[in-house]
Amino acid sequence: MFSTSDTIVAIATPAGRGGLGVVRISGPAAAPVAGELAGREEPFRPRYATFATITPAAGDAASAVGDQVVITFFPTPHSYTGEDVVEVSAHGSPVVLSSLLRRAIDAGARLAEPGEFTLRAFLNGKLDLIQAEAVADLIDAVTPLQARVAFDQLEGTLTGAITAIEGDLFDVIAKLEASLDFPDEGYHFVGSEEAGAALASLGDRIDRLLGESARGRLIREGAQVAIVGAPNVGKSSLFNALLNANRAIVTAVAGTTRDLVTERADLGGLSLALIDTAGVRETSDPVEREGVARTRDALRVADLVLVVLDGSREMGDEDRGILAETAHLPRVVVLNKSDLKGSGIFSIAQGVLGLNWSATSTQAGPGVEPFAENAPQHRESRLGRSGKDPRPLFSVSAQTGAGLDDLIAGVAEALSTGGIEFRDQPAVSNVRHTALLARARGALARATEALEGQVSEEFPLLDLQEAAHALQEITGRRTSDDLLRHIFERFCIGK
């Protein structure tokens, strides 16, 4: 059961859509929590949009994103849930939103269970019967996992990883419990060394999931497609054009995108995560350097890399560097700015990619030159497919949208037929999961310590149960009957 009278917070806008994101806080402490978020002492004026700047929190890499937001306070009972509600409208980037979420939690709010706002609205008489049916579904969902799946189908493989960890932990717990409850069965269920090794391995697995989260790889499920390129070649413009949304911060100042911006996109029927990166270049600005480091991380995890070159200018050293760096990766090269006149295309195609222009021109047809002017002939813009290595080249204009459809088809094709293996290592992208994993990790560490201290099983079990409960908040609770069943299935117990 969860309380229906405390203050809860969640991202209210659907994942990965819209340029704007809303973080909603509901409950008696909604206004104070928002006040703390905005560093503001005076009360919010009810139902007025208040502009505020959220300053980055020190020391937390993941929330090193300041943002300008609009805060609106809806006092009870005239709000969505009927309680005091504060809505914080921010930039739709998941980085910004989860940072806001984290800070609201730090300020005392509790992360809402899926559907809990609706539940409260319902309890406070804010929903009619038809709407209440959605609440009935929520009430019927036996486990938080099921509830979440009902709300977001995309959590699948991450919860899969957590479920596997929980299952193995449960097995260790069952064996230690069996040692206590069945001391004279002639079984040696598990030794402290074996248990310790199992816990160490579980700890490593949790660390890996958490590590991904800590590196800011805000990646949900699906293929990971990273957009890389030298500064100002128009990566963010392309990112936005592909998403058909004005999402990343786009200015003409080189090095604007300092963080990884990830969005879920449905391109050519494939669900994928599109990662916008900082321009890859040597820089002395520490913030930007961090951005470049994250870009390198993105390259490591990406299933496909879109290398963006500026088709309106000559190749630079940075372009060459990126092409070299991505040469061994599954990639698609995109010549951006086809709407501008330029002369870079031939040197790029012939010189750097090592593509045999004349050999591919028959396939590409006579539509090559027009890129520089207009480039409407997408099909012909594909160059250089040799053997099984999918290495197409596309010319597009992020500005006008020219060539995008073909690029999207090419990305989809590269992902579905290009022999690219999808990353099967899911990344933690969810604040709730991260927090629960961290709690489980802490408890595991304490259990390990107790086990090393050669104390009896019931002491580490206290911590292991705590770890299991944290994981079971994701995967669904288990009872002592489940535990006994697990033991009896594996061991012949009983005289």
Binding site: G115, L123, D140, A147, E177, F182, E458, K495
Partner: protein, 572 residues
């Protein structure tokens, strides 16, 4: 004692101590008539130390009978119970099978395995509650007429052998038997014991062989468990020989124990060998066991099927939801084991009396006692198989120890009128010693390794330091007597040594209390809570949880459903 000649064991030993702390007889009965005593889990922490003892069955029964006969307020009617009589929604009396009627204000029914009991040995089935006794049929009908949800369970017992036909000495000498001794310093069960019990018997450990397993496999078609003759569900923690062999084919051998059923009786109980195969096969199996080639089988093992009532029909007082004044205890509630039955009998009896007196029932919390866990599990979850207590069922295991059962429960028992003056005064002295000693070791400074002086309580947190060692070094003087020394030091030492863990458990208790304290009225209209699906309404209505805490523990109930009920608690 229709089955194994033993009392206690893991978690069961806890129950016996708790029964004793509440004024029950079981601990004193086994202290007086036990023939071999062991503390299980001695190598582990104090929370899982569990006493167990072999009983002299005849003497045990006689002791209990005598103790009951000595009670001035018990009026005996010996007959076969037939029909529960009602007056409106309340019990008004009991009719015997012979028609005699006895009016009453409250009725406790404890049917063991007798409700429509059927015993199976091979193809042979006969209506019986246990070896040689007829089943209870009229009463079963009467209970079903009340509309209660019921089911069928199964349990079993092994064959008994003749002691005179077994050459124990030879078995030990040839290495096929291993002698199992009791503890060198046996510890009594009862807090009122003034002397250590005595070990007067030994048991023998032996193992099944491949030949035994082959025999079982080739005769499995004759087992009522495997040919569809038995439909009742048996306990997985106490599997029949058939189950051991068929379900765990990889296991090369299984443990068996030869346990005497008394000091001077012939019956030897073959613990671990329960089965329902035909008599001839049983004899053949016994003769296939090393050392038992010429053992004489006094009576065969058997399986018994019996009716039980889903305990979700009960409140936490063990009174039925449907009929006021009607209480159930023991196997009728789906449990197995003497200790589980005794604990329920004590609570049901106390609450029956209290209901007649118009007093609130004695209900123990999960954080207070294994008895509380037992009742709470039954009434919230129901039974799918015979229920047995395990320490893993306890969320607050470190708090529920055998050494502090009296500290936890004797005041509750006194309040409920179960604890007599003598035990109460003894408890008062014990409590005072505990508090004094705790205070003393917090204030006494001792020198530890390395020369530093620290409070004794702090020194005790070191793994190598024990309270016993501090006392024998003269560093600490405890308020105790030689008789109480073991118990007194154990309680104090545990409280101090594991303080960090205990505090964490107490904090967890405090958190859970929020939900445990929110009471749901008996007549709460779950069907009127908007948004609850029919399934959730059904689960709540069948179980009738008394608190939000219980509501949370009902299988299949979702957190959101409980939250909604919680939100509507004050609205109806």
């Amino acid at each position: 004692m229709p089955c194994n000649p033993a009392i206690g064991g893991t978690a069961k030993g806890h129950l016996v101590r708790e029964i004793d702390a509440l004024g029950g007889l079981m601990a004193r009965a086994i202290d007086a008539t036990g023939i071999q005593f062991k503390l299980l889990n001695r190598s582990r922490g104090p929370a899982v130390w569990s006493p167990r003892a072999q009983a002299d069955k005849g003497r045990y029964s006689a002791w209990v009978k005598a103790a009951l006969e000595a009670e001035p307020n018990i009026h005996w009617i010996i007959g076969r119970a037939g029909r529960i009589l009602l007056d409106g929604g309340r019990v008004s009396g009991l009719a015997l099978e012979d028609g005699a009627v006895f009016p009453c204000g409250a009725l406790v029914i404890t049917t063991g395995t007798f409700l429509n009991g059927v015993i199976h040995v091979g193809q042979e089935q006969r209506p019986s509650g246990r070896a040689g006794e007829p089943p209870s049929r009229d009463l079963a009908e009467s209970i079903k007429d009340l509309g209660m949800k019921w089911g069928r369970l199964k349990t079993g017992t092994p064959p008994r052998l003749a002691r005179r036909s077994i050459d124990f000495e030879q078995g030990v000498k040839s290495g096929v038997f291993h002698v199992e001794h009791g503890d060198s310093e046996p510890i009594p069960f009862s807090f009122t014991a003034t002397q250590s019990p005595m070990n007067t018997a030994v048991c023998h450990l032996l193992h099944t062989t491949d030949r035994v397993h082959q025999l079982v496999r080739s005769n499995i078609g004759a087992s009522p468990l495997y040919n569809g003759q038995i439909s009742g569900i048996g306990p997985r923690y106490c599997p029949s020989l058939e189950d051991k062999v068929m379900r765990f084919p990889d296991r090369e051998r299984h443990q068996l124990f030869l346990e005497p059923e008394g000091l001077d009786v012939e019956e030897i109980y073959v613990n671990g060998f329960s089965m329902s195969l035909p008599v001839e096969t049983q004899r053949e199996l016994i003769h296939s066991l090393p050392g038992l080639e010429s053992a004489e089988m006094l009576r065969p093992g058997y399986a018994v099927e019996y009716d039980f009532v889903q305990p979700t029909e009960l409140r936490s007082s063990l009174e039925t939801h449907r009929v006021a004044g009607l209480f159930f205890a023991g196997q009728i509630n789906g449990t197995s084991g003497y200790e589980e039955a005794a604990g329920q009998g004590l609570l049901a009896g106390a609450n029956a009396a209290r209901s007649v007196l118009g007093r609130p029932p004695l209900v123990l919390g999960r954080e207070e006692a294994y008895l509380g866990i037992l009742v709470d599990d039954l009434v919230t979850k129901g039974c799918l198989e015979p229920y047995r207590m395990f320490t893993s069922r306890a969320e607050y295991r470190l708090l529920l120890r055998t050494d502090n059962a009296d500290l936890r429960l004797t005041p509750r028992g006194r309040e409920a009128g179960l604890v007599d003056d003598e035990r109460w005064e003894r408890y008062g002295r014990r409590r005072k010693r505990y508090d004094t000693n705790l205070d003393r070791i917090r204030k006494t400074w001792v020198r530890v390794e390395g020369g530093a002086r620290v409070p004794a309580a702090q020194a005790l947190k070191r793994p190598e330091v024990t309270l016993g060692s501090l006392v024998s070094a003269g560093d600490v003087v405890l308020e105790t007597t030689p008789d109480d020394f073991a118990l007194d030091t154990s309680s104090v030492e545990t409280t101090v040594k594991y303080e960090g863990y205990l505090v964490r458990q107490e904090q967890a208790v405090a958190r859970a209390q929020q939900a445990e304290r929110r009471r749901i009225p008996e007549a709460f209209p779950f069907e009127r809570v908007p948004g609850l699906s029919r399934e959730m309404v059904q689960r709540f209505s069948e179980t009738r949880p008394e608190t939000l805490g219980q509501a949370q523990r009902i299988p299949g109930v979702t957190p959101a459903a409980v939250a909604v009920v919680g939100a509507y608690l004050n609205r109806f």
